[in-house]
Subunit: 215 residues, 2 copies
């Protein structure tokens, strides 16, 4: 079965695609340009009623919400490709925990930062320096906690790469490419080393090669 | 093993406690009062470095992020108490999907609404009518999609109660208790019927009885 991924150029879609590559699952892409409002077309809304990217089709399944999709494939094809919930059952709750930390602590300030530093003109908004600064401070505090965590663990959930790490790639990438905030990664020794390890995975390099926007 | 839940009076903690009751897992609670800043004490930060509620301790595990905790117990004790990822494996991705929808579409506008209508004085902020109105509109659009979904499915992920439904209880409760926005549930026939079914579960009634704030 070939998985169809809608809107491959967008950040959350890349979270899905890097997972499919890690799990060695074949996929094809369907362009949906949110900047042109194609995500609000009636056809797309039939797939994703909230008009958000991505959505996927896999046989009879239509699914949306990128972290739901990656959890699904990590569970469904547990022993195929990379074991993205890890080899040790005892660590399972920590994968869950750090994946939620990414969603609720790392993602929100970084998403705002990226909108105001990279996508403001495309979105027709005026970059707000106060918003940028506030979110930089918020994200810095989150990364300080990551620094502490990664001083005793190679990866967020423990000693091996998992969904919890992978989920940071697509927005984290913009910190070093486009947002001009490289220092936030590089000034933190353990975060920096972790970033180099996860962003050098062949799966992520492949994503950037296929969808090179701001690469 | 008795699970220790920190900060039981808070919304996200109730998400955990209702899950523990559904799964028939014994628990005890430790009061942490965020309004008094106890969540920023050094002792609590050792458990939850971001200073957020809840955190739990279960034997050697210390865990945080409520949706990570509920996923963990739903998986670990699959066949004990209520099967919260359901009896049908084919529906597994939809539980994941609607649990993410709750986290990323339902929760953010409702959380802002609740802060500005119920907790503003405790938090020392002035209720902002514009913010209330904007988030009411946002939440209304989300509930319109729920209405459509629930017109063909008894529960969000399909024909039985799951984590995806359960996760709405603790903030949804405030819409009808304290926020004065009962109409948002009651004016939508299928959402209203769904709400009555999930909020009448003995587990949720027990939570409200144990932690009656704004009940």
């Amino acid at each position: 079965m070939v998985v169809k991924v809608y809107g491959p150029e967008y950040a959350s879609s890349k979270r899905v695609i890097v997972t499919l590559i890690e799990k060695e699952i074949e996929f094809e892409v369907v362009d949906v340009d949110a900047f042109k409002g194609e995500n609000k077309s009636l056809d797309y809304l039939k797939l994703q009623p909230f008009g958000l990217l991505p959505a996927i089709q896999d046989g009879d399944y239509t699914l949306f919400e990128s972290r739901a999709i990656i959890r699904y494939y990590a569970e469904k094809y547990k022993s195929r490709g990379t074991e993205l919930f890890g080899k040790c059952y005892l660590l399972f709750p920590f994968h869950q925990q750090w994946l939620e930390v990414e969603a609720h602590n790392f993602n929100p300030p970084l998403n705002t930062l990226v909108i105001h530093t990279i996508f403001s003109s495309k979105l027709g908004i005026t970059p707000d320096q106060k918003v940028i600064q506030e979110n930089e401070v918020k994200l810095g505090k989150v990364l300080d906690i990551y620094e502490e965590r990664l001083s005793t663990n190679k990866y967020l959930a423990g000693d091996f790469f998992s969904l919890a790490d992978l989920s940071h790639l697509q927005l984290g990438h913009y910190l070093l490419n486009g947002a001009g905030k490289e220092y936030m990664i590089r000034d933190r020794k353990h975060v920096s080393a972790w970033w180099d390890v996860i962003s050098n995975r062949p799966s992520w390099k492949k994503v950037l090669q296929l969808f090179p926007y701001l690469n």
